[in-house]
Symmetry: C2
Subunit: 370 residues, 2 copies
């Protein structure tokens, strides 16, 4: 499904075209996070306008609310939220482990309580796939066990083993449903675990390669370990993933890190940094003439009183809705008065920055600069 358009000669970076049921997208790309089927204050047609080509939604949150019945009746998540581009859904595993109360993991699956009504929920690998089939996402993720950091070797070894067993069941479940034409088109990605232990990573990778997933993610990184550890793991293992399949580094990241990871052969990213920073009035701005190899952006804190009197846009060269229409002084005012328009404009700007940044990365790969 991934066609490599250009392989860099200077690094492992590659430019590709990923075909999905909702259209073809160029890699590497960044996925804005629409947790509950919405990005803070931003509507689906505006995501497209700002340059988003694929978004990520959270299975766990959507499963709890509005629930599958509603999404099924809506005709899937795309129709429900009014977004007709590709969607990747996570498996829900990460949220179960980081958010859910009273969870209990058994080889069969994971039991937890709904944070909405306290109901007991039992999530199995089969169920995780079924849910994502109802959501109708273009890319489904296998249910995995994501250990935090620090975690001891034994714990990680167990997680790897269980992740493989669950991955096998996810693949089988997907096969079962293949009679329905639209399910056949959905892709299923496996998630390589193993923490910062190279031998466990290798084992997880070997196990999952046998299952012939449509794409592979490196999971369990960006969970608190020093970034140098993540670099080590990705540098070593990204190139071992199949060349003709997309490689997804989950939950990353900071732009300068993303540049390095792209050079290691990563094709896909998702991260809440642009939206979370926007909520706090921290805006990403490209530095003039900054090369992607160096410091190419800075953070502008629009709450700072220095912007009170600044009638320039956030970034004169940015073509986002916020920069095209409003000044820093106006944004400063909106943040100071807690007008919801402020966070919305900041979100639009930061997402545009990430999307423009990825477009620039692709251009540099195309031109042989990276």
């Amino acid at each position: 499904m991934l066609k490599i358009l250009k392989q860099s000669k200077k690094s492992k970076a590659r430019l590709g075209a990923l075909s999905t049921p909702h259209g073809k997208i160029e890699t590497p790309f960044f996925m804005p996070v629409a947790t509950r089927g919405a990005i803070k204050g931003v509507a689906a047609p505006e995501m497209k306008e700002m340059g988003a080509r694929i978004i990520l939604s959270n299975t766990y949150h959507l499963f709890l609310r509005p629930g599958l019945e509603i999404i099924k009746k809506a005709g899937g998540l795309h129709k429900f939220m009014g977004w007709n581009g590709p969607i990747l859904t996570d498996s829900g595993g990460y949220q179960v482990f980081s958010l859910a109360k009273m969870r209990k993991i058994t080889p069969e699956g994971v039991e937890f309580r709904s944070e909405i009504d306290g109901a007991k929920i039992f999530l199995t690998p089969e169920k995780a796939v079924e849910i994502q089939q109802v959501l109708g996402s273009d890319i489904m993720m296998a249910l995995d066990i994501c250990s935090g950091y620090p975690a001891n070797r034994e714990e990680i070894a167990k997680a790897v083993e269980m992740t493989t067993a669950w991955a096998t069941r996810c693949v089988r479940q997907k096969g079962r449903k293949i009679e329905r034409k639209k399910d056949r088109k959905q892709m299923l990605f496996g998630i390589v675990q193993g923490g910062v232990y190279p031998d466990l990573r290798q084992k997880s990778l070997d196990d999952l390669l046998k299952l012939n997933f449509d794409g592979y993610a490196l999971g369990g990184l960006a969970v608190g370990e020093p970034i140098s550890e993540a670099y080590k793991i990705v540098r070593r293992f990204a190139p071992l993933l199949p060349e003709g399949k997309p490689r997804y580094l989950m939950g990353v990241g900071v732009p300068e890190q993303m540049v390095r990871f792209v050079k290691m052969g990563i094709d896909m990213f998702d991260c809440v940094i642009p939206t979370r920073h926007a909520r706090h009035g921290e805006l990403f701005v490209f530095q003039k003439r900054g090369s992607l190899a160096g410091k190419f952006y800075r953070l502008l804190h629009v709450n700072n009183s220095q912007h009170k009197n600044n009638f320039q846009p956030i970034d004169r060269d940015c073509r986002c809705f916020a920069c095209a229409n409003f000044s820093r002084a106006y944004l400063h005012h909106l943040f100071k008065t807690k007008e919801p328009l402020g966070q919305r404009l900041a979100t639009v700007h930061n997402l545009r920055f990430f999307l423009d940044f990825m477009a620039r990365l692709r251009k540099e790969i195309r031109e042989g600069k990276i």
Copy 2:
């Protein structure tokens, strides 16, 4: 400045064209309220798109934050908020009386404390005009004394007297500034007070007519009195206002009331009802074939569980951004999960309803139906 295009034969309703420094607008019209230079989550270009031709901003709030220095440097409120249509600013009087702490009224003006930093502020009629000149609004309002309801006759009589004295000073202040070309174009409206006492209303009206304002407002209504009292006052006094000048009923109102007030000769309205209702998920929907004389709309409570499964738009015939793109089920979900997009879409819809409703009123006057 108001050209009467059509005077109804069936009622006192009239269709007019009001010229302002930022363009001509048809009357009667409704002004969405952008208190702090923004409508909840909605940006200026979108207000235009939804059919707003003129908006109202609050002098009191803008004076406290961001403050005049900033707006002056921005080149006025229009530039600051990115809105190039007409703006009406209130005088700040109403907010001083309803919101400010520790206020003290003297014949000279009103003293109160800033809710931001506790600083003592002394607002005089001259100052109120000066502030609005800096804001650069198309329509300025004279500083008045708005009594609440109930209020005794003596209190209202005093308020009327002071309102006249202050109105005189506002007119004088405006004259002083007339050397600047752009100030000359700003309109200044007087506010008739007098509560529900016809003789006091008459006195206030007589006093203010002598001052030859560019337009007249009926103030001190919609402050808690029974609506029948407001009808009585408006029915009697609206027709006594100059025919060739706009008549503005402040803070009104509910759509069916607006129909009646238009028939009494009112040309202008402002109200927070559409935005406030939107915040609570209460959406205005036209009834099919409902005549403006009867019950022509209903309130849809999108939080109600009956909408959980409803994949129709709020109103199939509405052309707003929310109805064009999203279902009730999606809005229900956004409200339940407190996604800020929900309130934004609801606000867009409700404002569109009010603006469409006013357009329909104008059409019916034009066609001689009202």
